[in-house]
Amino acid sequence: MSSRDFFISRYEELGWKYHNIMLEQAIRINTMNIEATDIVERLKSIGITIKKVPFLNQGYWASSPKFSVGATSEYLLGLYSIQEAAAQMPVTLFTHLEDKMVLDACAAPGGKTVQMADSMHDTGVIIALDLKKERLVALANHLERCHISNTIVHHIDARHAARLGIKFDRILLDMPCSGNFATDKNWFKQRTLKDVERNAALQREILTETLKTLAGDGEIVYSTCSLEPEEDELNIDWAIGSLNLEVQTINCYGQRGLTNVFGKRLDSSLEKCRRIWPEQTQGFFVCKLKRRKAA
């Protein structure tokens, strides 16, 4: 069985029939820098077709037959960011970000870091980490372009976050993951189950180590752009049992998380997670976690 057939048969077993999709480019308005209505009019006036993403507050699908949406003056002025629609969801799930101490544990290239700063109206502090120095350049450029001033970036492995000696009210774990075929045409050729399992193990390590920095009543938002349950529901099921975490109810686009994966019965609270099969967006998984309260 080819790698492609192997993964497609898994998706069918999980309840989704594979079909190819064409992703639309999405943008997110940086509302700290401009009113949404103003930038929408400006983009229309320069020939960009723009359509509101129904399940996002600041998200739009944007396209132009003549030029790249990522090369307009408005983009370069930080009035909007290019950010895939599903990838705009995790940040919106936090409760009240303003004035908070926030960790963005795997931050580069910084789309969600800027989105959080925008939601925080540049108050509080974001500590953004990334392991790869070359990706930090993109993150720094993103922060400068969007005029963000509440963020400190460290070249640190997320697994060493505790070394900073800071307690965080909110932690975004947008995990390094296997990705999905909707954003990578060579995905099926390049991925194996071994990769998926290696990534899942790394994600568990990151979750375990960053949890040590979470303030008592703090929130974690965990997300991947992987469709593989090892990196999604199975990891969260493990976290419920091993890290004393509980899944919080969220209200966002997507299907309920799986509670039965390849015959394995998972904690029923996993249905509070959101699994997004590629249709209008890329594949995605997201959930919100808190420490379980003592009985």
Binding site: L76, L77, A140, N141, I152, V153, I166
Partner: protein, 167 residues
């Protein structure tokens, strides 16, 4: 491109640069930090957490390299708020400027302040947003095709940086 100085405080580098737009900005020097030649402006809040070494923090103001100061777009925006010398250019000229071109007389809608030859001028679009800056050549009385401001930095630099990092 910018003022050459061997030894100077960070604020002097910044002040010298800002003064070339015939304006001033007030920066709390206790919140200025230099890291690997790059200058950042922190807030009191950030200062508490930026002590353990960082890659980037707060507002990036520019970098000092070989005794020269290279401004960031954040600093140019701060100068824009303080009404430094500027020229407002039309839509076509704005786009050409972002692509790295100089500003010709025929593209200028308005000149603000009283820039003299050799001064720096902010280049603004019709929304008064800063696209970068240039050296004023004071040729407003000359022919329409004469260069009025030589492009020294424009926001197209973000795309050029991306391209450089990919290569």
């Amino acid at each position: 491109m910018q003022t050459k100085k061997k030894e100077s405080s960070l604020t002097e580098f910044i002040d010298d640069f800002v003064n070339r737009f015939a304006t001033e900005i007030t920066i709390d020097r206790t919140l200025l930090v230099e890291h690997s030649g790059r200058v950042f402006l922190l807030t009191e809040n950030l200062k508490k957490y930026a002590s353990k070494g960082f890659y980037y923090a707060g507002t990036y103001l520019g970098k000092i390299k070989s005794g020269r100061f290279f401004p960031s777009f954040n600093l140019l925006n701060m100068i824009t708020e303080k009404k430094g010398n500027s020229i407002v250019v039309n839509k076509k000229t704005a786009w050409l400027f972002v692509c790295g071109r100089d500003v010709f007389k025929k593209g200028i809608i308005k000149v603000s302040g009283s820039p003299r030859k050799g001064d720096y001028v902010l280049v603004l679009n019709t929304y008064d947003e800063c696209l970068g800056f240039g050296r004023f050549l004071n040729d407003l009385e000359g022919k329409k095709r004469n260069v009025v401001a030589e492009n020294l930095l424009d926001i197209g630099d973000f795309l050029r940086r991306e391209r450089r990092s990919r290569n």
